[in-house]
Symmetry: C2
Subunit: 245 residues, 2 copies
């Protein structure tokens, strides 16, 4: 369980301007981050405005991968953090960029940081994928961090903490990759749907969100999730009659 | 000696683009810094490009003061830090942004951080005013921090450390304001000049720099500087003959 910790993945969710994607790449590479993922960039990809703004950080742009959904983008990540300035009564742990960076440096499994679109920030659906909220404490009277600035502050904190001595680790398994968790959530939903759990329709969305939140919080490892999947499978089987004889 | 520590002054030395001045203002205010000083901005001041780039941080721009020289801009500051990425065989202490922020929060007297022009950075003459070099450790293979990013990282670090408990302070006087030091240096030069100390001319500049460096390093307090000035005055006086009788 002691492979070297990998740097966090920077996930730009529905970024609007190619220029900002380029600036984010430049911000990343200054502090040694190279893996960028783009979720449904508004103007497609590649974007001719990104390159000039990257000021030479072409390696980050060249290797950037595009995904159709945020869930797809973080499917292989064990630790997903959502950056947000708005508190929406979220029931997830909130960490500072510094605390998150310490976690990146000391936990197994890939970490990802989600950044929302320039104007609107992450949507509740994106935040729901995350196990924690990453926040940068700013002036309460003037909070105006742009995308590339948020990225550079996170990258800077990663850089400051990357050389943290890896403390002696208990043989704890890291949380399962996000795709395992998604499988579990989908499994639950598939079983619950026909039971009228998401009825009435106007409340269905909120109910799904609550379910996701409950299942996301524990940070189960892959063995635990496998166990849960087994439990669900068992629950959904026809009752077994007359096994004797 | 325990007044509340004041936030550092951000000094932009010969900034080129108004847009970057605005971005720096925005970066500052996000983390509660409001005092900006401009040394000989290339396009004069006020600059119509600054406002839009400040995204609402108008208070910083409105209060910005303009100075003709870097020395003027920091004349009331006790602790001057020069940001630079280039190591020029400087014989000054080098601190990270984090270490500097801890110092801001725990030392008496005003602190100032000098940022150079976008393209070229600070000149040796500017750096010579500083008691320490402030550096941001970046990727050795890709170092491309722009002005506003350097400012935001410094402001962020200040914000992280501003609430540091002020440790019990010995009754140490802070270094004297920079203008006191300038007075001392000028006093030395005035006395040395006629002595041929700065001769031959081609070496004069380097010799002056060396002198400044030697006098800047100690961080003398105002009493010590007063003492030194008194010593210089004494040295320059005509010899007193026949005091007896």
């Amino acid at each position: 369980m002691s492979e070297a910790t990998e740097p966090p993945v920077i996930v730009l969710v529905r970024p609007q301007l190619g220029e900002n994607i380029g600036k984010a790449a430049r911000a990343m590479l200054n502090f040694g981050l190279t893996e960028m993922r783009l979720v449904a960039p508004r103007d497609g990809w590649p974007n001719p405005s990104a390159g000039p703004a990257a000021s030479g950080a072409d390696i980050v742009l060249d290797q950037a991968r595009v995904f159709a959904s945020t869930a797809d983008a973080v499917s292989d990540c064990a630790h997903v953090y959502a950056t947000t300035v708005r508190k929406r009564g979220v029931t997830k742990p909130v960490v500072t960029a510094e605390q998150a960076a310490r976690q990146f440096a000391t936990q197994d499994g890939r970490s990802a940081i989600l950044f929302g679109p320039e104007r609107s920030g992450l949507e509740a659906n994106d935040v729901a994928l995350a196990r924690a909220i990453l926040t940068i404490p700013v002036n309460p009277d003037f909070s105006s961090i742009n995308l590339a600035q948020a990225v550079i502050l996170c990258a800077y904190e990663w850089s400051r903490h990357r050389d943290l001595a890896i403390p002696p680790r208990e043989e704890l398994l890291p949380p399962a990759p996000q795709e395992d968790l998604e499988g579990l959530i989908a499994h639950f939903e598939k079983l619950l749907e026909p039971k009228g759990y998401f009825f009435p329709e106007p409340r269905a969305e909120a109910t799904r969100m609550t379910l996701r939140s409950v299942l996301t919080k524990p940070g189960w490892n892959h063995l635990e999730i496998r166990t849960l999947r087994g439990i669900l499978s068992s629950l959904s089987r026809e009752s077994v009659k007359g096994t004797d004889g």
